[in-house]
Amino acid sequence: MKTFEDLKSQWEEQPQPEIPHEGSKIIMQKINAIQNKQRITNGVLLTTTFVLIGFFFYINAYSNLIVSLGLFLMIGSLIVRIMIEYASIKDLKRMDFTKDAAAFRTDLINYYKKRVTTHYVATPIILALYAVGFIILLPSFKENLSKGFYTYIVVSAIVILIVMVFFIGKEIQKELNSLRQLKSSQTD
């Protein structure tokens, strides 16, 4: 019969892993790459916001109240969604990995709870505002675009909406599973 001591010696006898050659240097390079990626992401987000605002003024959207409102709702809801996602990524990065496992798990559970609230409350509101913005713009699209292009925009918007709802649903499912797993391993 095997005892735990047998298992322990089996564990200790396993081949020793090779320490990666220049492993710490590779880690430093990776950290620099992460920081650069972060800077690029910030740049892209900032540029997108400016381009959207610029576009708003370029087409004189402010001269037509209905068009302004439609564009404002669409662009605004997109920006808010991006900002929420960005803040969430920052929250995860700020998490204190040096805490003990029980405290860290509590933080992680709170993080996932916040994510689920975002998905159930903020996301549907944002999606609804985006859709309202689009609907408000439809008469102006119809007036200014060819019939074919107008149909294309309407059909593609419906398809995009269905695809987005599907992906958001999957994401909610994944995060709810994570939350369930975390809670179950805490109570075991």
Partner: protein, 162 residues
């Protein structure tokens, strides 16, 4: 190389094997996944270096980061089934090493059946950490760890016997 970088390299070289072995315990012995996880853990060690207090043990600090990183990262990834690791053994001719490896894989498989907390506790116990230090890493009392270690040891030996 700065003084901080030199100190980090020292920490890396001293602790890499333990961190890697701990990761293997979480990934059913998957080498590639364990290497990725170990790298992620050391990235966090560097990023959180300011939070290290000199009155704490370096190993406790690193193990905390390792356990928490594995908890977070493995949620996103699927662990490879143990049968995938066994394929290469079928081709090996050295029966002694094959038998050793099979025993080790069986141990990984049994560890894999435990819940996350129990898995962490037993991996730290297998690494030979004092129960007081395991308690500090887990955020549980020494007594709770003692009781749980006893229970998990029984569970593990029974599983390996099957």
């Amino acid at each position: 190389m700065t003084t901080q970088e030199k100190a980090f390299e020292e920490i890396y070289r001293t602790n890499y094997p333990k961190v890697y072995r701990l990761c293997q315990g979480y990934t059913n012995g998957d080498d590639a996944m364990s290497k990725d996880l170990a790298q992620e853990i050391f990235i966090k060690c560097w990023q959180k270096r300011q939070s290290f207090r000199n009155d704490a043990k370096v190993s406790t600090w690193i193990y905390r980061i390792a356990v928490n990183t594995c908890l977070l990262e493995l949620r996103k990834k699927k662990t490879v089934p143990i049968t995938d690791h066994l394929k290469h053994l079928e081709e090996s001719e050295d029966s002694f090493s094959v038998s050793k490896e099979l025993q080790l894989q069986q141990l990984y498989q049994c560890i894999g059946k435990l819940n996350t907390d129990n898995k962490t506790i037993i991996l730290l116990e297998l690494e030979g950490l004092p129960q007081k230090e395991i308690a500090e890493i887990m955020g549980l009392s020494h007594e709770a760890i003692r009781v749980r270690v006893h229970r998990i040891k029984n569970e593990l030996t029974q599983c390996v016997e099957k």
